[in-house]
Symmetry: C2
Subunit: 240 residues, 2 copies
């Protein structure tokens, strides 16, 4: 399940660690496919297991370590079904969504999902070649936020065509400062690839360019950082 | 040089990749100790090498891969002397500095250094048990920003005692919103450990608590993200 192909074929993914597994188990969005845990985790979580009607397979710490794709060993490893997130037309037309163009770094993807959750953003749209949100590193970095944020992989051109009346805020360098932007309540925040920025095909859908003003020498701002600052400023204008 | 001990004893560290090595080589802060590169890099950088009076040792791609501590192989690996960053009393008394309490994640440390550079923040103070800023992953994540930001490892209690008149903004959950904060021009932004927050010993030096308001379900915000949002709001009030 460490490869995207295997996850796509089997429609399941792996989540590791007590916190994330607990969040996913208690969410109605994710269905447990299998649980593998050390004895002490199983006895501590008897109630929760009983509620979901699931049994955990007892693994020794060594077995878990071998099954894990992460460097820090965990007490529990869960296999969950990949959810079928539905887009909600009214939601998209009335709220602020994040749109990712070829984000490649798992840490960035995970942090963006977690930040979206912090700011109450419900939908993230991704080009099909963005890093898979069910890869182990992304799942880890989301800290359980996938239970509250829906992630859609799709053709962004079609999305923008479909919602022609929704503004597209394109994060780019040197253009108008985010702090001077008066946001619409509904909008797409388009974030480009880590080294190449927004692609030409998508650039033409941008209705408003926004940037985080630079005061020092760094050549660029990390994609997840730029996303977060813009979302924070948006949320300061629309606190729901 | 992959261990902190070896770096401390030898006072040198490793930087990998063309961009970072070029930035460090052209900076007056960093002295080249040794360069190891593939033939094509050496011929492309003849001028620069001549200027610094340094010779690069030719390595095959395989040799570089073996010497590298990163997964993606690079064309050049540089060994640089660890600089002796001096604090500047006037600078500290008149500007905004970042202060890190037990930040452990190399990605967070690197991103914070890069973001500080973006916002023109000159000094970062760290507890001695923060992740070492010269570890390979941090150096990589800074993208060369270490040439413009000074990083000081010290006892933070002493720092705060020494600058009793400088405000200490403590990032914490649920307290007053950063967007409602009227910053002083000079200040310390204190960021706590990824899972434990600010320690009790340092908490007592905090003069103003600030938070990034939460609108969704995420339990916490990533430390580098919180730092960046607060720095962005500060910079919007004091553009130098």
């Amino acid at each position: 399940l460490e490869s995207k192909k295997q996850r796509t074929v089997n429609r399941v993914f792996v989540a590791e660690g007590e916190k994330i597994v607990a969040e996913l188990m208690s969410s109605s969005v994710f269905k447990v496919h299998g649980l593998f845990a050390v004895k002490e985790w199983i006895s501590a979580n008897e109630k929760q297991l009983h509620k979901t009607g699931r049994k955990a397979v007892e693994f020794s710490e060594k077995e878990l370590e071998q099954a894990s794709s992460l460097t820090t060993p965990n007490k529990v490893l869960g296999v969950f079904e990949i959810p079928d997130w539905k887009t909600d037309d009214t939601e998209i037309k009335n709220s602020f969504s994040i749109v990712l163009d070829r984000i490649r770094d798992p840490g960035n993807m995970g942090t963006i999902i977690r930040t979206a959750d912090w700011f109450g953003i419900k939908n993230i749209f991704c080009t099909e070649d963005c890093v898979d949100c069910f890869s182990p590193k992304v799942v880890q970095a989301t800290m359980g936020s996938m239970t509250r944020v829906k992630i859609h992989y799709c053709q962004l051109e079609k999305l923008f065509e479909l919602y022609r009346n929704v503004k597209v805020y394109g994060a780019s360098a040197g253009e108008s400062d985010v702090f001077n932007t008066k946001f619409s309540k509904a909008g797409f925040l388009l974030i480009g690839n880590e080294s190449e920025g927004i692609s030409d095909q998508l650039e033409k859908y941008v209705t408003d360019k926004i940037s985080v003003a630079k005061f020092g020498g760094a050549e660029s701002l990390n994609a997840a950082i730029a996303t977060s600052i813009i979302c924070a400023v948006y949320r300061n204008q629309y606190f729901k």
